[in-house]
Symmetry: C2
Subunit: 338 residues, 2 copies
DNA sequence: CTGTTAGCGCTTTCAA
DNA sequence: TTGAAAGCGCTAACAG
């Protein structure tokens, strides 16, 4: 089966290849007469344009690279979906690249995407230090990056407003009537989960409540960490009716301990987490938490990227805080007084 | 920043572009002398080959198209991951295409992938009738397809052996000592879930047990369907100690009903499902079920596709039954006699 | 209003 | 052992 090219169409329609191209792209006046001859030929021969040739000629591919740790992780899957969807709307293909947490593989993909002349790259890097993408950016490749600092690179970054997350969760508990709200927090105050504690404090203060270090035990960012912190909290003797957990894993650890210690959740103690991990919606009780709008974030990232690709934005690095939202499930209920 | 091409390298190294190409691809003898001059020039100028130009010249792109309903559905996500991984190993990019269950969008992607000259397409179509890919195949595009009949198309198909699924699940229950094993099945015996019933019967017969229509109620392929069927089962008065549910949704419906009726699972009644849906592992008790090896299936699909792409296979349509595996969790335990 | 033609950057045949 | 040169299929000056 011989491959049909624009040349065959030109011949069949008895026009120049230029005219065929113009008909195809509808970017120059072509008389109805010729236009219909061309279209007929196209239909008859079943012609399909070759985008590779066009890409070479135009030096753009309408393809985006998406580098993520693992598309089978539902978290990244959501973002990927947002990217794919926004890409499709804009007429772009997206090339799926899982780094599997390996820097080496990430680098291999960066190279591959560059070779393939993708128009832009969306990046969820497996490393904190992102200097390895400097050459990319220097060559003028539009890049957007999730969850990382741009440093001195001219890339747009998308982050979550951790302060706001802590604030939204805590405010929810306050609005439910809770006054003694504990906070289970990570060892460090500087990591993402740690930054949420600031929002917790702010929400309390805004509502005339004070925060009390005795109600703010620390633990690892894990289920066990949440469990240990909760044990500490209980043994402190300080009364409380609700807990804000700075991430969902710790929230689940807290629920487990409370249960073993004879408390009911949410009847005795309400809990709000943060992150909306997969387990959150399946847990019993389903966890009220603060979720990131992942799919939307993916779409917005594409918009930013396209602005750079299309030259609609030519400034320096931009930082976007991604939308988050309180997801109300069953682990927090109104405080009934005592 | 001017773009560096093979020509610049040739000039700098004072050799022909041909020689540069040969060094790059290592496919012709080049004297060490020239080779090192070329490599130096490449390093100095920071040259990166342009795959688009190469693709045009070679009329192949080392790119695979992956059309699936939705990459954020964990089931497809797993398959996608297998595809991406096998693709990466083989030096192929994969273009992610979600049809979102819309035929229109699926068709748009088919067109897009063809235009982009992908070397092959992996397909999980949103429709049962797949005649719309006929033109694709006729043009010689290698295609593999999941869960669909090839009909008269020359495409490789990947399916699950439903009979085997029912067999494995039931045999597990038999091996646990259960003798009175009910089966919750769908309305129709011809859909995938229905075909599993044959395996159920076979496993029973193979072990000298007989199947009894009174123990085989039907319901919709949904949680409610499983619930209703279980109610019917209980009201039949026939004794049983285990249930094989022809899909996980029905299994969960069954568990819910058994609980409300005062039975414990698995202490009183053991249950095995099929599919390994997401909920299966998070459910309480975690569901023992028959799972498809999704990631592996994705990888194998790529292998088949590559065989066609590389011309290592030139025959007609091939049909592959995908591996499945019994996943033992907590919903089925040994029968303790009575 | 339409056609001619020079490339895009690379591979690969052919010739030396 | 190397180089010259003809395209791959298309776009977009430029010319008429």
């Amino acid at each position: 089966m011989k491959k049909i090219t624009i040349k065959d169409i030109a011949q069949k329609a008895d026009v120049s290849v230029a005219t065929v191209s113009y008909v195809l792209n509808n970017n120059r006046y072509v008389s109805p007469e010729l236009k219909s001859r061309v279209n007929e030929a196209i239909a008859e021969l079943g012609y399909m344009p070759n985008a590779v040739a066009r890409n070479l000629r135009q030096s753009r591919t309408r393809t985006l690279g998406l580098i993520i740790p693992d598309n089978s992780n539902p978290f990244y899957a959501e973002i990927a979906k947002g990217v794919e969807d926004a890409g499709f709307e804009a007429g772009y293909s997206v090339s799926l690249c899982n780094s599997n947490g390996m820097l080496e593989r990430e680098l291999a993909y960066v190279e591959m995407l560059q070779a393939n002349q993708v128009d832009g790259i969306i990046f969820i890097s497996t490393t904190t230090e992102i200097q390895h993408i400097q050459p990319l950016v220097n060559r003028g490749m539009p890049v957007v990056m999730f969850y990382r600092d741009a440093g001195d690179l001219n890339v747009d970054t998308f982050k979550i407003d951790n302060h706001l997350a802590g604030y939204l969760a805590t405010r929810h508990l306050v609005e439910l009537g809770h006054q003694r709200i504990a906070c289970i927090r990570p060892i460090s105050d500087t990591n993402p989960s740690g930054q949420r504690v600031g929002g917790y404090k702010a929400a309390l203060e805004e509502n005339g409540l004070t925060w009390n270090p005795a109600l703010m035990p620390r633990g690892d960012n894990l289920i066990v960490g949440g469990a240990n912190a909760t044990l500490e909290l209980l043994s402190s003797g300080e009364p409380f009716t609700a807990i804000y957990a700075s991430n969902d894993a710790m929230a689940i650890g807290a629920i487990r301990v409370l249960r073993t210690q004879g408390f009911r959740v949410p009847e005795d103690i309400s809990i709000v987490g943060t992150d909306d991990i997969l387990l959150a919606s399946y847990y019993e009780p389903a966890l009220t938490t603060v979720a990131q709008l992942k799919q939307e974030a993916g779409s917005i990232a594409v918009q930013s990227l396209l602005e750079r690709i299309d030259g609609r934005y030519e400034g320096g690095a931009r930082e976007t805080m991604m939308d988050i939202r309180l997801v109300i499930r069953q682990s927090a209920i109104p405080y009934e007084g005592s």
